[in-house]
């Protein structure tokens, strides 16, 4: 299972879609050369997370030349090794915490979705009502192609994430279709920040020593 707490910096508005998603679990898996499923199992079980972050920091330090470009916000050239390692470790502890919060909320969403769909499926009356409702909407869509546009954009959003929406040009489209509110709402979701409200300071870091957040 891969998840979607991105660690890839957000694409700029003029460059869309953004780079392929790299999630925390995927990135840690790559750094440690471990299977993503194994990493996610550790994250879900919340087992030895500090040890995991320490292991990642250790590996990044050992192979620092491979990671200096990937993590340009660390002071690779001027920081003492131990201090640098501590900062990298603190960074990953923070990112893992955020990722775990995301996984928890994702589990809740999936539970709700599964429950609601099961309720419709198991109740003949609801199932029939559901089927008729979908048929009505399909009939409506034949006369109102804008519904296809909404569907298409929902599919694209699901596939590509926020960068797609931040690419510009959508404002004009939204205005022309009268769906400004919907698109503004989507754009807000696309610009969503990570859930974690607090990023712990890095050891020894002053107030200007800010660890960047993960764009979601």
């Amino acid at each position: 299972m891969t998840t979607d707490t991105d660690v890839t910096p957000e694409a700029s508005p003029e460059v869309a879609p953004r780079a392929p998603r790299e999630t925390v679990d995927v990135m840690i898996g790559q750094i440690l050369n471990k299977d993503v499923e194994e990493i996610n199992a550790m994250l879900v079980e919340e087992e030895e997370l500090e040890k995991l972050a320490a292991e990642v920091a250790e590996t990044v330090m050992e192979e620092r030349h491979d990671y200096e470009e990937k993590f340009p916000w660390f002071n690779w050239d001027t920081e003492e090794d131990e201090m640098l390692k501590n900062k990298i470790e603190a960074y990953f502890v923070s990112q893992i915490d955020q990722h775990i919060m995301y996984l928890r909320e994702k589990a809740e969403v999936l539970e709700h979705k599964t429950e609601r769909l099961a309720e419709i499926e198991k109740d003949p009356e609801k199932k029939s009502l559901w089927k008729r409702a979908l048929d009505k909407v399909k009939g409506f869509a034949k006369k109102h192609p804008i519904l296809t546009a909404v569907g298409v954009l929902a599919l694209a959003f699901a596939a590509t994430g926020a960068g797609f929406w931040l690419a510009g040009e959508w404002e004009l489209f939204a205005t022309s279709t009268g769906l400004n509110k919907l698109f503004e709402y989507f754009a807000g979701v696309g610009e969503l920040n990570p859930v974690t409200p607090y990023t712990p300071p890095t050891p020894g870091g002053g107030e200007l020593d800010v660890v960047p957040d993960i764009p979601v």
Binding site: T3, D4, P17, Y102, E105, K106, V109, L110, H112, K113, R116, L117, E119, K126, L129, W130, K131, R132, A133, L134, D135, K136, V137, K138, G139, F140, A141, K142, K143, H144, P145, L147, T148, A149, V150, G151, V152, L153, A154, L155, A156, A158, A159, T160, G161, F164, A167, E169, W170, F173, G178, L179, L182, Y185, F186, G188, V189, L192, V195, V216
Partner: protein, 137 residues
């Protein structure tokens, strides 16, 4: 007309409905929609993340959309798609991902442009979908 003539609308949507002509409103009753779901931007985002499209054509569209760089490229890719031909499973996925707020925006938008009883039938469909997915159990 379908035997189901009850629209589940929020107060805001009902205000839009009330502005329709008496002829259009005739035969319809409105009940207040109750949304039993606390929507947040994060939940909306996650619902898109867990969208599980089954149709090969739509899956292919999603794959190609990842590579598209402009709105025009998306439009070209989307030219072959037609919402009315999407299968029920994929429509369910799309509406669940849209969530109660987005569906509400669609309902309000389409209500303001209603021209026929058929249009209201479509809106009825959306209101039922919202009610079953995000209304009280």
């Amino acid at each position: 007309m379908d035997d189901n003539t009850t629209l589940y609308l929020t107060d805001e949507e009902k205000t839009v409905f009330d502005k329709l002509s008496d002829e259009l409103k005739e035969g319809w009753t409105v009940e207040t929609a109750v949304i039993d779901y606390e929507e947040t931007p994060q939940k909306q985002r996650i619902r898109f993340d867990v969208m599980n499209i089954q149709s090969p054509a739509l899956q292919e569209f999603q794959e190609k959309a990842k590579e598209a760089k402009t709105k025009e490229e998306i439009e070209v890719l989307a030219a072959e798609l037609d919402f009315s031909s999407f299968n029920d499973v994929d429509l369910t996925e799309i509406f669940y991902a849209l969530g109660p707020v987005s569906i509400g925006i669609l309902i309000a938008q389409f209500l303001s442009g209603v021209q026929s009883d058929e249009d209201i039938q479509g809106i009825l469909g959306m209101s039922i979908i919202r009610n079953l997915l995000f209304g009280p159990k």
